[in-house]
Amino acid sequence: MDKPVSDIKLSCRFYQEPGGWERVSLNLSSNGWIKIDRRVVKDELEIEYTVESIDGLEIILSLKSRVGFPNLETFKKLLECLLTDCWYIDIYYCFRNINVESVAKELGLHFNSNEVKRLKLGGSEILVETYPAAGRIIVSHRVGLRDIDCIEKIYSKLFRKILINEVSQH
């Protein structure tokens, strides 16, 4: 099995008026991110602008980390920065090349089907989806400025399980 990988998509929603990549990238630039065309980079993180809805009320960004999975503090700072522009962000973490069976077992999910489980962590609803045939697990949740602290709980209670489980597999 190849090294486990996680892709993160951030679906940023604006409140009532269109936002867009220009606004978001300008905000990130003023917080130390370097803009290169449709990307911004800072430390180990890189964000790529993917698409914007026609009404301009939502954009999708793709986040990559050179260190595998983003460090909690760095990630939280990024979200705080984005949430000065955005109303809320739907975050999708997709883990691939992982042993879905053992991770699903650890999380109390069946691994034989494409199961969807709703968990409550730090007051937020977390969706965990397992796709064994594709060897992927997708975790998603919504975050706003008021509940940003849920990220810590999700990291400590959920991702540690997924990532530590993986470490023990390799």
Binding site: S6, K9, S11, V51, S53, E115, V116, E129
Partner: protein, 422 residues
Amino acid sequence: MSEEYKRSHVFGIDYGTSDFKYGPITIGEIPEVTENRGYFTEKNSIMSKVMGVGKDIVVGKELPLFLESREDVAERLVYPMRNGIVERNDVKAWQVTRELTSYALENFAPSDPDFRGFYVVASLAVVAPRYMYEQLFDIFGELNTERTLVRAATIIPQPLAVAIAHKIPTCVVVESGHGNTQVCPISMYPIRNAVLALNRGGGAANVLTSEILKDTGYGDLAKEEKLVRRVKEQIGLLPRRLEEAVDFARRNPDKVKREIRIEGTRIKIDLGDESWTRFLIGEYVFNPGHEVFQSYFKRGMPRPSDVKIGDTYFYGMTDMAEAIIQAVEKCSIELQPHLFSKIILSGGNFNWNTPRGLEGVAVSSDEKIKIMLKEKGIENIQATVAREPTYSVWRGCIVYGYAVPYDFKWRWERMEGWLNYA
């Protein structure tokens, strides 16, 4: 059904001639990839009954487990597409296409009561005839018999998907996959009467790699297509100018020599003194008409031939720059400079890197195409290789599905919008 539901349930499918790429919007940047082929099992055989093989057609990752003897494989293994086209009356090919589509959607359909089907964006070759659109739409409808897998579907040409992924409305997309290459000028929509298709892609470079392996004493390995492809990907180089690169390789053999190991086996490959041939592999993709290849043709290597499939001619030997020029020169003169100034190279066949120490000798695809076009008198060229070019069509499907409003109905006259099933 809401726009919000649609945005989180977009599903992209890229029907490549060789590789079939699929997955929903939520899976990040890399889709699932499986070969575009299906194996017809012999369900009535006693072994199939004993082993509990219940399927008529096997597709996807488990297919290799069902392969029997070579004679059976030739008869039962079906590759449905040729140069991106499925023949209208090829029943078996359409059965495979249906099975693969179902396989892709079932792989990611969540067992969740809130799931109401995917918004599927399929991508076909720009030369795909209308009947392929019709048959594919029929397949999407048929897949909903047991449960709703497809809420709505749309189909877009592959080069348009690439342009969408890059948000460039006026450009030339050169999409080169395993089997063929499509050169497609785009000005908001594909300019269909300017499209030029080549009957060669990554597969042609595999054929040459196989010949090189034979010549260097690895004839036994040259028959294994998958291994040849891996060798090509690891040793192939794209020369800035072939003569200069070969001269460099002969003067600096150590810089060009490379030994590769095939993971999980004891196989090691080293081209030794013939390492200069690494440059032939890349050159062949761009310019198979170079005189150096004559010796291979004379010894029996098949020359990429001109073929007509449906109403489309696929040219075999036209070099890549010439193909771009011919396509662009079919467009209005006012548009031509804009097209030359935005050329996007997409598809796995443009994945060429410059190894350390070979800078200036080996180049990437965009540099190569700029040099070739400049030599033919074209100025102000801007060419870029799509990021991870193998997946750019799939990414374009996702972007398109996300952007098109859920209530925008399919219109045959414009070939855009959603065809609703549920």
